[in-house]
Structures are given as structure tokens and as C-alpha cells.
């Protein structure tokens, strides 16, 4: 799998999405009133419907885990696009439904209730109603307050209904006035949807199954790093074919009775070898506690690699790595392998509550000595401040370096904003917040 995609791809992706949106906006033509002009209500009904259909298929493609998209945009950014895009599509659907009823009521001279009843009886609209019902269920259960109350497995099962909803909405779209009878557009629209769903099947289903069969991974050893933290080494066949890079992560599924249902994202905490991968897991909840006691020999399915924190992103000679919490895992792997050219400097800043509790500290100290790199522990309170001014005091030439950041989501987001405001070019900032795995 190629992972050589960069920020330029993100720009091209945005252009493609915008071009697609323009294509979806073609109902402007259908809204022209004979004799000149455009009927505003009709235009809103058509345009919102088509854009909702287009937005749905874009969301499916964005979440397909297609490496081209994941590498170009980054998983964190994709998650933000997904959340914003989901809300936008729901708003477009609501607009489309209301405008359609208003237009129909005007055409037929009906009140809103009668117009709604007539619209609901039209062929293809039942499928749309099912789609909307499912999407509302998904949206409600995805709201932050609801997410905290329901189990991940329940939420995930409901979220998968999105695919059913989008398929049902597709039936409605093909029968709608913007597509019906326009064979070329219908074929193009169908190919667009089929393509997006194929990406999902390819990267979310076939790829993990293929990896499970081809690489046959098993837990080789479990080493306690600190109280409540272990490093798990996984052995497998032909792992070099995965083209994993230090700094990347996999979605790991450990096939035990307690952990097989869900795949969890964990970064590689050491450079990948041709037959082994290592991850480091801190106990934060039921699953991560269960992994502390996992036995050698347990079968593992790893989906990946994912993530943008790789040397391939590097643009400058000098580098600063910033890690917070378990975010030290990918930074440690990167710290070992980053090339230090003559006269160059690599500095790792590791924020931790207490230097004595720093994870992988022995390895980090050893690596720093061996490579001639620098390692600073930022311990809280006091030295743990991570702001652009505090970083510029430590590293005056910060804006001329590449900066890699991995830490808790809030720390990562705040730091990204802060560093960008301080003048660090976006192309030199490579950041990923880790997801807390319970």
C-alpha cells in the first residue's frame, strides 16, 4: 500500500469535492421557470435534495479508510469533516423535505397537512422516510451526551445503519425529478454511489480480512513498562508488505472472548520489523485493562497502517517532537528512526505528570544518547506548560523546524492553533491527537 500522499492531495481533494458539489447543483437548470427567471422555492427544494445526496456519498467515501484520503487529510481532520458534514447533510435533508412540501402545496393549492400526505404517498418517498428515520436515530445517538450513556458496541451498531439509510435515500434520488428519465445522469450517479460503497467494502472489510489471512499475527510477548502499562509485541508473516512507518498506528483486534468485538487504535511504539510490530497500551478502561494480561499466542487482526506522523512528512532539517501522555508511543518510534543530518537537531519534548512515571524512559534516554538527539521531560506542574511562547523560549528557531505533535486531543488541538498563530507554517506542523481507548 502506498502512503506517499501529502498536504497537496488534501487541496486536490477539496477541489474534487467542490467540483462534485457543482455537478450536484445542476438542478438550477430544472428550476428555470418558462419565460425566464428561477423559482426560488423550487430551486431550494431541488438543490438541497441533490446536495444532501451528494454530501451523503462524500461522507461515505471520506470514512471508507481509503489510504489516499486518510494520508492526505489526516484522521483527526477527517473526523471533524465527518461531524460537520453529517450535520450539514441533516440540515439539507430537513430543508429539502420542507421546501418540497411547500412547493407541492403551492402547485396543488393545498394546505401543508394535505400536501405532506400527498408527498409521502409518492413512489420513492417511503424509502426517503425510512432513510431520514435512521439518520435521525444515528444523529441522536451520536450527540455527545447520548454517546456517554450508551455502550460503544450499541452506538457502533446503530451507526452502521447509516449505510442502510444512504442506500434507501439513493432509491429515492433515482426516482426524483432531477434524475428520473435522464439516463446518463442516473448511470453517473449510480456509479458514484457504487464506487463509494466499493471503497468501504475494499478498505473496511476485504483489507482487514486479507491481512488476517496473509499475516497471521499472534501476540509474541508482553512486557510491563510501568504500573498499568504494557508493551505487546506481535509476531506475523510478511509484515514488511504492510509498509508501516514509525509514527503510524493500526486498529488492533485481539481475538479473546473479551476483546474480539472491537478494534482499537494503538500506535507502534517501536519501528516495525519484518516479522514483528510493537504497541504500548496504558490501562484506561475495561479493554485496556484486559490487554494488560493478554497471553502470548492470542491471534491478532491488525488493520492499517494509518496516521500521518511519519518522516515522509518531514520538510526541514531540524525537528521537534512533542508528546503528551501515551502519545509518547509513536514519538518514541519516530525518535529512534528520524535521520539527523550533519549539523541538524532533533529534540523530543515529553510532557508527563512526573518524570519518574514517564513511559519508555529508559529506551528514550538510550536512544537520545545513541543518536545524539535531545530529550527534555516537561513535568507538571511547573515545567509542563505547552504554549507557543513557552516553546519558543526553549526552541527559538521553532518556526524553522518541522514539529510533530501527539497527545490528548485537547492538548493537540490547542497546540496546533497556538503554533500556527505563532507563525509556524501549516506544512511544517504534523499533529494527531490520540483516541482514549477504554
Amino acid at each position: 500500500m502506498s502512503t506517499r500522499h501529502g498536504p497537496g492531495d488534501a487541496a486536490r481533494l477539496k477541489v474534487l469535492i467542490l467540483l462534485g458539489a457543482l455537478v450536484a447543483a445542476w438542478p438550477v437548470r430544472a428550476s428555470a421557470v418558462p419565460g425566464g427567471g428561477i423559482d426560488g422555492a423550487v430551486l431550494v427544494a431541488h438543490l438541497s435534495g441533490m446536495l444532501a445526496g451528494y454530501g451523503s456519498v462524500v461522507l461515505v467515501a471520506l470514512m471508507s479508510r481509503w489510504p489516499v484520503i486518510e494520508q492526505a487529510v489526516g484522521v483527526d481532520e477527517l473526523a471533524r469533516w465527518h461531524a460537520r458534514g453529517g450535520r450539514l447533510v441533516m440540515a439539507l435533508i430537513a430543508t429539502h423535505a420542507c421546501a418540497a412540501v411547500v412547493v407541492w402545496a403551492g402547485l396543488r393549492g393545498l394546505d401543508a397537512g394535505s400536501a405532506t400526505t400527498e408527498v409521502l404517498r409518492m413512489p420513492g418517498v417511503a424509502a426517503a422516510v425510512v432513510a431520514v428515520g435512521l439518520l435521525v436515530l444515528v444523529a441522536v445517538t451520536s450527540a455527545r451526551r447520548a454517546r456517554r450513556r450508551i455502550r460503544y458496541e450499541t452506538w457502533h451498531g446503530i451507526h452502521l445503519l447509516t449505510y442502510v439509510a444512504i442506500a434507501a435515500a439513493f432509491v429515492h434520488q433515482l426516482a426524483g425529478p432531477d434524475l428520473a428519465g435522464r439516463r446518463v445522469v442516473q448511470v453517473g450517479w449510480s456509479l458514484l454511489y457504487a464506487g463509494a460503497f466499493a471503497l468501504v467494502v475494499r478498505h473496511r472489510v476485504l483489507k482487514p480480512v486479507h491481512a488476517a489471512v496473509r499475516h497471521r499475527m499472534r501476540v509474541a510477548s508482553v512486557v510491563t513498562e510501568a504500573a498499568g502499562t504494557v508493551s505487546i509485541t506481535v509476531h506475523g508473516r510478511r509484515l514488511d508488505e504492510l509498509d508501516a512507518q514509525p509514527g503510524q498506528y493500526f486498529r488492533w483486534r485481539f481475538l479473546t472472548p473479551h476483546t474480539w468485538r472491537r478494534a482499537h487504535p494503538f500506535s507502534l511504539s517501536a519501528p516495525p520489523q519484518h516479522d514483528t510490530l510493537r504497541l504500548t497500551v496504558a490501562a484506561r478502561g475495561d479493554t485496556t485493562r484486559a490487554l494488560q494480561a493478554i497471553s502470548p499466542g492470542v491471534r491478532v487482526v491488525a488493520d492499517g497502517p494509518y496516521g500521518i506522523l511519519t518522516e515522509r512528512r518531514r520538510t526541514r532539517r531540524d525537528v521537534v517532537l512533542i508528546a503528551g501522555g501515551i502519545g509518547i508511543a509513536p514519538m518514541r518510534a519516530l525518535f529512534e528512526t528520524l535521520h539527523i543530518p550533519s549539523g541538524g537537531d532533533v529534540l523530543l519534548l515529553y510532557r508527563t505528570t512526573d518524570a519518574s512515571r514517564a513511559l519508555l524512559a529508559d529506551e528514550l534516554d538510550r536512544l537520545a544518547d545513541r543518536a545524539g538527539a535531545r530529550l527534555h521531560y516537561l513535568t507538571q506542574p511547573g515545567g509542563g506548560e505547552l504554549t507557543a511562547p513557552s516553546l519558543l523560549r526553549r526552541v527559538p528557531d521553532l518556526v524553522r523546524r518541522d514539529v510533530f505533535v501527539c497527545g490528548p486531543p485537547v492538548m493537540t488541538r490547542t497546540l496546533m492553533t497556538d503554533l500556527t498563530r505563532a507563525g509556524l507554517p501549516r506544512a511544517q506542523l504534523h499533529a494527531e491527537g490520540y483516541q482514549t481507548v477504554h
Binding site: G35, G124, A175, P177, G181, A194, F197
Partner: protein
Amino acid sequence: MSAAPAGWWRRHGASVALACVTLAVGLTLGLTAPTTSPVDVPWPAPSGAAPATHRGP
């Protein structure tokens, strides 16, 4: 078959098969889609003009 094409098919065969299935599904859905819309109705024409067929919501 020589070794190189065999290797190519081993690496890309599944992708090619999936692309063919995707194409077939997309074409089938598009070519069997409805040809008329349930909301094709006579559109109210501007005052004084003859009614024209137009598409509703």
C-alpha cells in the same frame, strides 16, 4: 503465464474484480432506474402564458 503477471494479479486481482463488480452494479442500477418521476406535473405558467410541463419538487 509468466511470473510477473502472476504477481501482478495476486496483488491487484481483488481490486480489479471489485472494480468490475462496482461497474456492473453502477450500470445496472443506473440503466434500470425509473424513467419518469412521480412529480412530473404541469407547471403553473406565468400569467398570460400557456401552461408548460415542468418538474415539481
